[in-house]
C-alpha cells in the first residue's frame, strides 16, 4: 500500500488530502512516480491538470525527487505545487 498525500492548492482543488493506494492496480505495478502520477491524473480533468508534470512536484519518503524514482510498498508519496515559504 502506498500512502499518497497532497498539499497546498492541489489538495484544495482535488478535495483530497490523503489516499491509500495498492501498489498493484488492475495488474499494473505502480513501481515509479511517473506511473503513480498517470494513474492519479486519469481520475478526472482537475486531477489531470493539477497533477501535471511541472505543476505538481513530488517527494518520496519526505525527500523531493523526480518522476523516475522507483516506488516500494509502504512508501509515502507527496504531490504539491512549487513551494512558497519564507
Amino acid at each position: 500500500m502506498l500512502k499518497v498525500l497532497f498539499f497546498g492548492q492541489l489538495k484544495e482543488v482535488i478535495k483530497t488530502e490523503c489516499l491509500n493506494i495498492e501498489i498493484i492496480q488492475n495488474g499494473k505495478h505502480l513501481n515509479t512516480v511517473a506511473k503513480l502520477r498517470s494513474i492519479l491524473q486519469a481520475k478526472d480533468n482537475t486531477w489531470e491538470e493539477y497533477l501535471a508534470y511541472g505543476k505538481a512536484l513530488v517527494a518520496v519518503n519526505q525527500e523531493m525527487t523526480s518522476d523516475d524514482t522507483v516506488l516500494c510498498d509502504a512508501d509515502e508519496v507527496a504531490f504539491f505545487p512549487p513551494v512558497t515559504g519564507g
Binding site: 498539499f7 504539491f80 513551494v83 512558497t84 515559504g85
Partner: protein, 153 residues
C-alpha cells in the same frame, strides 16, 4: 556557552530580541551575527492583502530545513544557526521567518544567511495562501526565487 543549531516550526510568534541574544550568548569567538526576518506584506501583485495562511508538510519540513542548515555548515565556517518558521494564520506585518547565523567574520555569515533563505524558499514544503480584498489566492512560486536558488550551484 556553546554553539547551537536550532530549527523550529511553530504557530506562535517569536521574540526577535530573545533569539538574537541566544545567538550572541552562544559563544565569544564569533565576530559576526547576521539575521533575517521575513514579514507579511500588505500588498501582493497590486492586491491589498489582509492576512496570510501558511500550510506545511510537517514530516518533511524539519528534515529539509535541517539538510539546508547542514549544507550551509559544510560550505562556510559557521558558529550557531537558528531557523524559525511560522505556520497557520498570520496578519499583515507579522513575522513569518527568522534566520540567524554567527561566524568569525561577516562574509560567511552574510552568505550563509542568504543561502539558507534561498534554499528555504524553493525547497522547504511551505505554501502561502493570501486573503485579499478580491478573495483568497494561493501564492505562486516566483521564477526569480528559483533563479537565486540555482545561482548557488
Amino acid at each position: 556557552m556553546s554553539h547551537f543549531t536550532q530549527i523550529v516550526v511553530q504557530t506562535q510568534d517569536f521574540d526577535f530580541a530573545h533569539e538574537y541574544q541566544k545567538l550572541r550568548d552562544s559563544n565569544h569567538s564569533d565576530g559576526a551575527l547576521v539575521t533575517f526576518v521575513g514579514l507579511v506584506r500588505d500588498t501582493n501583485l497590486q492586491q491589498s492583502v489582509s492576512s496570510l495562511y501558511l500550510e506545511h508538510y510537517p514530516a518533511m519540513t524539519e528534515k529539509v530545513l535541517n539538510n539546508i542548515v547542514q549544507t550551509a555548515k559544510a560550505k562556510w565556517q559557521l558558529g550557531s544557526v537558528s531557523v524559525i518558521h511560522r505556520v497557520g494564520q498570520l496578519k499583515v506585518s507579522e513575522q513569518i521567518v527568522f534566520v540567524g547565523v554567527t561566524s568569525q567574520h561577516r562574509q560567511s555569515a552574510y552568505h550563509a544567511n542568504e543561502f539558507i533563505m534561498d534554499y528555504l524558499k524553493t525547497q522547504a514544503p511551505f505554501w502561502k495562501k493570501e486573503t485579499t480584498t478580491q478573495g483568497d489566492n494561493w501564492i505562486e512560486a516566483k521564477t526569480s526565487d528559483m533563479q537565486k536558488f540555482k545561482d548557488w550551484s
